[in-house]
C-alpha cells in the first residue's frame, strides 16, 4: 500500500513537473522572442500619425528585430509619442541622427518602426534620446497615387478603344493603311521595289568593292598614280605635250578658219571660183569647148588610125597587147 502511494506520488509529481516545465519553457521562449529578458535602453519618437501602431509591435533596424514598442501616448495637441525598448547590443550601431519611420511587416502585416543608422559623425544614441522622424509614404498615400494611376489608365484605355475602333473602321491614315487594299498593294509594290533597289544597291556596292579592290591592287594604274612618282612625271609630260598639241591644233584651226573665211570672199582665185557666177559661167563655157574639142580630137584620132601611114603602128600595138594578156593568164 505504501509502495503504491509512493508510486502515485512520483507519477503525480512528474506529471505536474512536466506540465510546469512546458509553461516555463513557453514563457522563456516567448520572453526571448519578445526581447523581454534582454538588457535594453529606451528611445522615443514623436509622430504626427502612428497609423495604428500598437504597444508590443516590433522595431526593426536593417531588417533585424532589435526591440519593441513599450508605450504610446499623446504629445502636444495632436502628435503621438512612441517609446521603444531597443536592445543594448544595437547601441553601437545607431547614431543620434538616426531616423524612425512607420512601416509594415508585409503588405497586410503588423505595423513596425524601422530605424536608420544615421551618420558616423554623430555620437551613438543614448537612453532617453528622441529620434527624428523619417516621413514615408503611408498605405493611404500609396493608394491615392494608385487611384490617380487607375484614372489615367481608364483614360488611356478609353482613348485606345476609340483608336482601335477607328482602325477597324478604316478611319484616318493608320486606319486606311490597315483597311484599304489598294494602299496595301501599293505598299507591297513599294516594298518589292525597295527590295530590288536594295538588291541593286547591294550588287553595286559589291562591284564598287571589287573595283576599289582592283584599284588598290599593287602595281595597278590607280596604285601607281597614287604611289609611283615616275608615272606622275610621265603624265605631267604627256599633259604638257597634249597642251602643246592643243595649241598647235588651235593655230591650225585658226588658219583653217582664216582660209575658210577667204573662200567666201571673191578677192582670191578659189573664192572667185566658188563665189563668182561669171567665172563659173566662163569655166562652164571652157568645159563645153574642151568637150567639143576632145570629141573632135577623138574623131581625128580615129581618122588617123584609118590612115595608111599610121595603120601598121596600131596593128603592132594591138598584137603586143594580146600577147601580154595571154602571158598573164
Amino acid at each position: 500500500m505504501q509502495g503504491t502511494d509512493n508510486k502515485r506520488k512520483a507519477i503525480v509529481g512528474l506529471f505536474i513537473l512536466i506540465g510546469l516545465i512546458i509553461l516555463v519553457v513557453a514563457i522563456f521562449t516567448l520572453g526571448s522572442q519578445k526581447k523581454l529578458f534582454v538588457k535594453s535602453f529606451s528611445v522615443n519618437v514623436v509622430f504626427d500619425d502612428i497609423q495604428g501602431l500598437k504597444t508590443g509591435n516590433n522595431v526593426w533596424y536593417s531588417g533585424v528585430k532589435v526591440g519593441t514598442i513599450k508605450k504610446i501616448q499623446f504629445y502636444g495637441s495632436s502628435q503621438v509619442q512612441v517609446f521603444m525598448n531597443i536592445e543594448e547590443e544595437t547601441h553601437r550601431y545607431i547614431h543620434k541622427d538616426a531616423k524612425a519611420s512607420i512601416s509594415s511587416d508585409g503588405l497586410i502585416g503588423n505595423k513596425i518602426i524601422v530605424l536608420t543608422s544615421g551618420s558616423a559623425k554623430f555620437p551613438f544614441v543614448e537612453d532617453g534620446d528622441r529620434l527624428q522622424v523619417n516621413t514615408t509614404l503611408s498605405t493611404d498615400e500609396i493608394m491615392k497615387t494608385l487611384q490617380v494611376n487607375n484614372e489615367n489608365l481608364v483614360d488611356i484605355t478609353s482613348n485606345f478603344k476609340v483608336l482601335a475602333k477607328n482602325l477597324v473602321e478604316g478611319k484616318g491614315t493608320a486606319g486606311a493603311l490597315l483597311a484599304d487594299e489598294k494602299i496595301a498593294e501599293n505598299f507591297k509594290t513599294i516594298v518589292v521595289n525597295l527590295r530590288n533597289t536594295t538588291a541593286s544597291a547591294n550588287k553595286m556596292a559589291l562591284e564598287l568593292d571589287a573595283f576599289t579592290h582592283t584599284l588598290n591592287t599593287k602595281g595597278g594604274l590607280a596604285d601607281k598614280l597614287l604611289t609611283d612618282t615616275a608615272v606622275f612625271a610621265q603624265l605631267q609630260r604627256s599633259v604638257n605635250e597634249l597642251q602643246k598639241t592643243a595649241k598647235s591644233a588651235s593655230v591650225l584651226t585658226e588658219n583653217l578658219n582664216q582660209a575658210s573665211s577667204k573662200l567666201t570672199k571673191p578677192d582670191n582665185a578659189v573664192g572667185l571660183l566658188l563665189n563668182d557666177q561669171g567665172t563659173a559661167d566662163q569655166i562652164k563655157a571652157i568645159m563645153q569647148n574642151l568637150q567639143t574639142s576632145s570629141k573632135k580630137l577623138d574623131e581625128n584620132m580615129e581618122a588617123m588610125q584609118s590612115n595608111f601611114l599610121l595603120r601598121g603602128y596600131f596593128k603592132d600595138k594591138a598584137k603586143e597587147e594580146e600577147k601580154r594578156q595571154a602571158q598573164e593568164h
Binding site: F15, I18, L20, A26, Q33
Partner: protein
C-alpha cells in the same frame, strides 16, 4: 433543527411546495453555501494531502493520454482544415501563427476542460452520488471525519490544479500535431514553426489560458461534487448526478469562456 432528510421532506410538503423560481434561487443559495464552505474547508487545517494526491493521480494523470491524444488530433485537423482558407490568399506561411492563436488562446483550455468535464466530472458526480445514496457520507459524519473536507475539497482542489497542467500538455501536443501537418505539407521546420507561432502569442494569452483553465478546473470539480454530494432518490439519483455534472459543467464552461474572452479583451486593447 432536525437533520433527518425524511423528516425535513415531510415538513417541506406540509409548509408549501416552492415554485420553480423560488427553487432556482434556493439552489443558487445552496451552491453559494457549498462554494463558500469549500473555501473554508480548503484553507483550514487539517489538510487531506494523501487524498489530494490520489485525486490528482486519478483526475490528472489518468486523463493525460486521452486529453493529449485529443489535443494532438485537434491540432493536426485544425491546421489541415485552415490551410485551404489561407491558401486562397497565398498565406499558408501564417498557419503556425493561426494555429498558435487558436490553440493557446482558446482550444487548449476549452478542449481539456470539456473532455475533463465528461471524464472527471461524471466520475466525481457518480462516485459522490453513490456514496451519498449508500449513506457512506453519513457514516463518515458519524465517525467524526469531515466528509466535505475529505471528499469535496480534495476533488475540487485536484481538478483545479490538474486541469491547467493538462491544458499545458494539450497546448504543447496540439502544437506538435500542427507542426507535423505543416511539416508534411509545407516542409516547415520545428524552429521556424515555433518562432512564427510564438510571434503572434503574448504573455497575456498564456496568463489568460492558465487562469481560464484554473476556473474551468474549479467548475468541473465543484459541479461534480455538488451534484454528487447532494444527490438523492437512490440509484436513479446517482445516474442523474453523473449526468448533471457533465451537462451543467460543460454549460458553465462555455458561459465562463464567453465572459473570460470579453474580460481579457479589455487588457488586449
Amino acid at each position: 433543527m432536525d437533520k433527518n432528510p425524511e423528516t425535513s421532506t415531510v415538513l417541506k410538503k406540509e409548509v408549501k411546495s416552492p415554485g420553480k423560481l423560488t427553487r432556482m434561487f434556493l439552489t443558487l443559495y445552496e451552491v453559494y453555501q457549498f462554494v463558500l464552505r469549500f473555501f473554508k474547508e480548503a484553507f483550514l487545517p487539517p489538510y487531506e494531502g494523501k487524498e489530494l494526491l490520489r485525486q490528482c493521480y486519478d483526475i490528472g494523470y489518468r486523463s493525460l493520454l486521452l486529453i493529449s491524444t485529443t489535443g494532438f488530433i485537434t491540432g493536426m485537423v485544425f491546421t489541415k482544415q485552415s490551410r485551404p482558407s489561407l491558401a486562397e490568399f497565398g498565406a499558408t506561411s501564417w498557419l503556425p501563427s493561426l494555429v498558435a492563436i487558436a490553440l493557446l488562446r482558446t482550444l487548449a483550455p476549452l478542449l481539456t476542460s470539456l473532455i475533463a468535464a465528461g471524464k472527471v466530472g461524471s466520475s466525481i458526480g457518480a462516485e459522490l452520488g453513490s456514496m451519498r445514496v449508500t449513506e457512506q457520507i453519513d457514516a463518515m459524519e458519524v465517525s467524526a471525519t469531515n466528509p466535505f473536507k475529505f471528499l469535496v475539497t480534495t476533488r475540487v482542489l485536484a481538478s483545479t490544479i490538474t486541469i491547467p497542467i493538462l491544458t499545458f500538455y494539450t497546448g504543447l501536443v496540439g502544437m506538435l500535431g500542427a507542426l507535423l501537418n505543416v511539416w508534411l505539407s509545407e516542409g516547415t521546420g520545428a524552429t521556424l514553426f515555433f518562432q512564427m507561432a510564438l510571434e503572434s502569442i503574448t504573455f497575456l494569452d498564456i496568463i489568460a489560458s492558465t487562469l481560464k483553465a484554473v476556473l474551468f478546473g474549479f467548475t468541473i470539480g465543484i459541479v461534480g461534487c455538488y451534484q454528487g454530494y447532494n444527490s438523492s432518490k437512490g440509484t436513479e439519483g446517482v445516474g442523474k448526478a453523473a449526468n448533471s455534472s457533465v451537462v451543467i459543467g460543460m454549460f458553465l464552461i462555455f458561459i465562463e469562456e464567453v465572459i473570460s474572452v470579453q474580460f481579457f479583451a479589455l487588457f488586449r486593447s
